[in-house]
Amino acid sequence: MRALHLKSRFRHELPYHLFLIPGIILAVLFCYIPMMGIVMAFQNFSVFKGWLAGPWVGMDNFQYIISMPRFGQVMYNTIYISILKIVFSLIVPIVVALLLNEMHGQKLKRVLQTAMYLPYFLSWVVLGGIILDVLSLEGVINSLIQAFGGEPVGFLSSNRLFPGVLVTTEVWKNFGFNTIIYMAALTSINPDLYEAAMIDGASRWRQIWHVTLPGIRPTIILLATLSLGNVLNAGFEQVFMLLNPLVVDSGDILDTLVYRLAFNQAQYSVATAVGLFKSMVSGVLISVSYYMAYKFADYRIF
């Protein structure tokens, strides 16, 4: 009886397994096999001489990173900057998507959406220079401030303002692109629900609160969870372009620190160790939120 059950179950599920074969092959070839390189975090690797051939150094690579001057400050900066980025990168696109959704005029909407995702295509190498220009003492923003009788502000030289600059410019660069995902999610809301709400006499605000937001809730939870994986990635390219000696105290992050360790030499072992550390933290955060969402909201994120 049980065997029969298993057999029918297998036959029932077989197509699902078959669907996954291409993905599994790709994962094994390009992710799992190369993933064995993680052993390097515990080795002193310079040149590949065969599996596990590198001299084993245990936790030395990790210790080396932790012993860096200002390691604590750097960790703090990394987490502080990335959490701010995660929060605002989540909220802003939702708000913009909702506002766009409320706006009339399909043509204008399309034009605006296209405009908003433009900065996404400019690399930090390009934007870095433009941001320096705009925020400099003689830049556009400071000209405006002075025109209104204010004192020029050193946005990029003040430890107080620098993290804010990082967060703002990051959100500005990417919000348009993330908005697209929410716009797509909005399309999947059943229009009947709005009709029903209107018949109940619900205002626009109430409709947003009771229909729209619940409708895109899965997408919000999903993107929030996935972005947790970035809690130790505060945005290397951006910080690297904008960081200067005056704001090292507030702007130096884990990745720029590792970069400095490895300047000019390929310190693969140290980089692997840092990468492993970041992966573990992300893994824990994502797993915890996965189980929380399942346990308390009975919702499987993925």
Binding site: P245, V258, Y259, R260, T272
Partner: protein, 540 residues
């Protein structure tokens, strides 16, 4: 600039590393010479190119005059195993080395890369091949610096690579001043540091470009501080301070230039200038590319940098046809002679894969290059074709296409520069044939002086050559006293260098008191500097 070259390196690093398949196959040219002499010998290389390189019609990177010559003369079949653009070459070579599969000949490896390869036993011992095959000329050039370069390629008594030697005479950080602005404001050429400050002040305040707008600045330098262009190195030299160099002390011990007390005086002066508004209040945020652009755009008229700087500044000529630069030996703060700290005589290294059957080919290629570039037939038009060809009006270089090269030694370079300068001054190229290098600057310079042609940049560089020959010669240069890499240096030098620039910037900008320099010196030693010095001194 360096920032971005850096960006890519780091991407590799942040992406981590390791290994999968033991595919250490180094495709061997078993098709060898002994069996069939007609069978061409394969030579696999990884090379970099620049998008600006030009080729005669029909030629390209993989099919050029040098490779055809190699095929004729050495029966070589050059194969580009991989190519990269110049700013990615290092990174690609790092990965190729780490994956354990280097080409037959590794071209232009850095000190670190050579070290990694030698430690991993990937490169061939060239001691015997060099003895046997190197021509006298090659030996003369490679040992022209007194053996420093060859020593740096020697590990445990074995020669593991051939150094690509250069002449450090090109490297002093000169003071470049806009002569047209000086003339306009009736100012003399600056002779002391105080003059430099006075000129910077005048350039900032007296509207030297005469456009009626307050849009000019004082002394220009970038946040990298010690770069080849828009630098402060020459300024520090004026105070007998030699930032970022390994110096040999009177006791024979190696010390580090940036932590010497002379640095403090120079920093104090820069700080004064900053307070007086003679330095861009935001220089800490501007990289070399940015500041260079500002200089060429006419914002600044006084800046330190190397002899080639006008090639960058010259782009502003279109908008400012009167722009003329005067290169000066860095003025002194106290009237004592100024010395310039310069780099090592080695640009990079050529190494041979230990599995390659013909290590002697590298030596032969280098002999061949030296013979063509510096040998008695170098002025033969047929030979000259290998180094440059005419494309329409312009002369395009192609010497860089050869697989192995060296530059002339300091003495030879100085001689050549003297011939060049004399030839231009006398308008007589007859002695130019005796020069080994830089002869190509004659025609454009003369044309420029005669008011025709576009030799603006060449002529300015010749002026800088003159400044170097007269102001420094070979006896006022302080080369790096150590060119290798120690264990601690690998781990700590990057951090120390950043720390150094951070403190110096803060001191100049007034964010730290001037005495922060003393704290920096002790911290520098504590954070690994002392250990590095100990390791260096122990290795000597």
């Amino acid at each position: 600039m360096r920032k971005i070259a850096a960006l890519s390196i780091s991407t590799v690093l942040l992406a981590l590393t390791a290994c999968s398949s033991p595919s250490n196959t180094n495709t061997q040219d078993t098709a060898s010479s002994s069996a069939d002499p007609k069978q061409p010998i394969d030579l696999r290389v990884g090379r970099y190119s620049l998008p600006t390189w030009g080729y005669p019609a029909g030629d390209d990177f993989a099919n050029n005059i040098w490779y055809r010559h190699y095929a004729d003369k050495f029966n070589l079949n050059v194969i580009h195993e991989w190519t990269a653009l110049q700013n990615e070459y290092n990174e690609k070579l790092n990965i190729v080395i780490a994956s354990g599969s280097i080409p037959d000949i590794v071209i232009e490896a850095s000190t670190n890369q050579l070290e990694t390869m030698v430690k991993a036993g990937m490169t061939a011992d060239l001691t015997d091949v060099f003895e046997e095959h190197a021509s006298d000329l090659t030996k003369e050039i490679l040992t022209g610096d007194g053996g420093l370069a060859m020593d740096s390629a020697t590990f445990d008594g074995k020669l593991m690579a051939l150094p690509y030697t250069t002449s450090v005479i090109y490297e002093p950080s000169l003071l470049w001043v806009r002569q047209d602005w000086l003339d306009k404001l009736n100012l003399p050429v600056p002779k002391t540091i105080d003059d430099v400050i006075a000129v910077a002040k005048a350039f900032k305040e007296q509207d030297p470009d005469g456009n009626g707008i307050d849009d000019t600045g004082g002394l220009a330098f970038s946040n990298w501080l010690f770069d080849g262009i828009t630098s402060t190195t020459g300024f520090f030299n004026g105070y007998h301070a030699y930032p970022q160099s390994w110096l040999k002390g009177d006791d024979g011990k190696i010390t580090y230039g940036s932590v010497q007390p002379e640095m403090k005086n120079a920093l104090a002066k820069l700080r004064e200038m900053y307070q007086a508004g003679l330095i861009d209040p935001e220089f800490g945020m501007k990289d070399t590319t940015k500041v260079t652009e500002e200089v060429s755009g006419g914002k600044y008229g006084i800046s330190y940098g190397r002899c080639w700087n006008v090639y960058m500044y010259g782009t502003g000529l279109e908008g400012q046809p009167d722009m003329v630069w005067t290169p000066l030996a860095a003025p002194s703060a106290d009237g004592e002679d100024v010395f310039a700290n310069v780099g090592t005589t080695v640009v990079s290294y050529y190494a041979v894969n230990k599995d390659y059957k013909h290590p002697e080919i590298l030596v032969q290629l280098l002999n061949d290059y030296n013979e063509m570039a510096y040998g008695p037939n170098r002025n033969d038009p047929e030979v000259k074709k290998f180094f440059a060809f005419e494309k329409g009006q312009t002369i395009v270089e192609q010497g860089h296409l050869s697989l192995a090269r060296t530059l002339t030694t300091d003495d030879a370079t100085v001689k050549s520069l003297e011939y060049l300068i004399e030839a231009i001054e006398k308008r007589d190229p007859s002695k130019l044939d005796q020069a080994l290098t830089e002869t190509g600057k004659y025609e454009p310079s003369v044309a420029y002086l005669d008011g025709k042609g576009t030799g603006y940049m060449e002529y300015h560089q010749v002026k800088a050559f003159k400044t170097i020959v007269e102001g420094y010669g070979t006896d006022h240069l302080i080369p790096q006293a150590y060119g290798g890499t120690t264990e601690t240096m690998l781990n700590k030098m990057g951090i120390l260098g950043d720390y150094e620039r951070e403190i110096f910037t803060k001191i100049i900008m007034g964010a730290e008191p001037i005495d922060a320099f003393d704290t920096f010196v002790s911290e520098w030693h504590k954070l690994g500097g002392q250990q590095i010095l100990d390791e260096i001194n122990a290795s000597l």
